[in-house]
Symmetry: C2
Amino acid sequence: MKEKQISGAVIARLPRYFRFLGELKDEGVEKISSRELSKLMHVTASQIRQDLNHFGGFGQQGYGYNVSFLYDEIAQILGLDHTHNLIVIGAGNLGHALAGYPNFEKRGFLIRGIFDINPGCIGSQIRGIKIRSMEELPEFVRVNRIDIAVIAIPKTAAVGVSQILVENGIRAIWNFSHVDLPVPEGVVVEDVHLTESLLKLSYNMTQETKGALRG
Amino acid sequence: MKEKQISGAVIARLPRYFRFLGELKDEGVEKISSRELSKLMHVTASQIRQDLNHFGGFGQQGYGYNVSFLYDEIAQILGLDHTHNLIVIGAGNLGHALAGYPNFEKRGFLIRGIFDINPGCIGSQIRGIKIRSMEELPEFVRVNRIDIAVIAIPKTAAVGVSQILVENGIRAIWNFSHVDLPVPEGVVVEDVHLTESLLKLSYNMTQETKGALRG
DNA sequence: CCTGTTTTTTATATATAATTAACAAATTGA
DNA sequence: TCAATTTGTTAATTATATATAAAAAACAGG
């Protein structure tokens, strides 16, 4: 009954476990111990065991973890046991790239629509999905029961659009705009701030250079 | 003389401070206290003060922080006081989007070349930058003193390309492929694994739904 | 079909790291 | 001059990661 709060750090590692297990599964590996997996992933075996134990005892003493079973369990934990309805806001370069990425569909994230303000591109298609005008957005989200919206528009427009989305029942926003979106309790936001990622890279590179100069 | 090791968590927050300070600067704000900034950024004032103090005493008691000065200081810490030479590997949807993003150039990240294996697109241009064949890559990196390579190609090719890059003196890789790149000491990698980000979003959304069902 | 040894998980304890709180010292501005 | 601010820094708290100990299962050999 009581909720065990799982830390964000653990959650953030889960998709990586999932990726490695998927690869092992594809290679036909049947079982793996935390020690073997730790060598593969370059994390401690202790951390792997503790992370997985937050969600249940998936392993067996003396045996290890069954790759296929663990893979399926993590898929369920990540919410991949059913499909999700997605829309992409913004048909610029980035929106185009995201809408055209086939791997998302493989995981059950189905792109139902693309929206843009530019009249020049409205009506054209990306991978068979029509680009619609922003005026259609509110009704489309409600009628098609859209779960997730991908925001790939400039920051000046992003906050306003996110409000419209929230008002019409969106449950999650994958935010690529350079702004922190204010959303009410219950709506989930995952930020991908590419510029910030590049700046982090720049910092680390600069530090390496300094280190090299010192010897 | 001795190196104070600054934690990754602090580094990861630095670009966000930089973003907010940039916005304040644009709005003409001259000074700000850690308390005001904390309200704006939704972090504790204590954390702001402690984070900034890792790099130096930029503030003044009774006054706060000078926005413009602090902005410039962080820019320097992030390595933005000089330009960087970039190349993009992969002229697919994502490579296209990244190569076409004007904000990177504004921050001093200059895209010097784009590379692809597809003969169909070699020779064409993105924002005036020619797409070249992969055979030209090694020499191009050396001759043009490329600092950073953006990897936007499938994982099957990514490891091989990263080795070529390292051999020719690349110092940092911004990795969008779904694989962990093995690089030697001194070469920096920043991963942007979009699928993993989406899975994290999916998990958090799933949890919210469960929470709502319980009431 | 046991049995002892090895493997490996799970549970627990310890160590490390990160965040928040507290406060003295400095500065401002009336 | 003095009260109100606000930093830099030290201390306390909380969170996270690692190491250790205990329990369970597997397996080889008789």
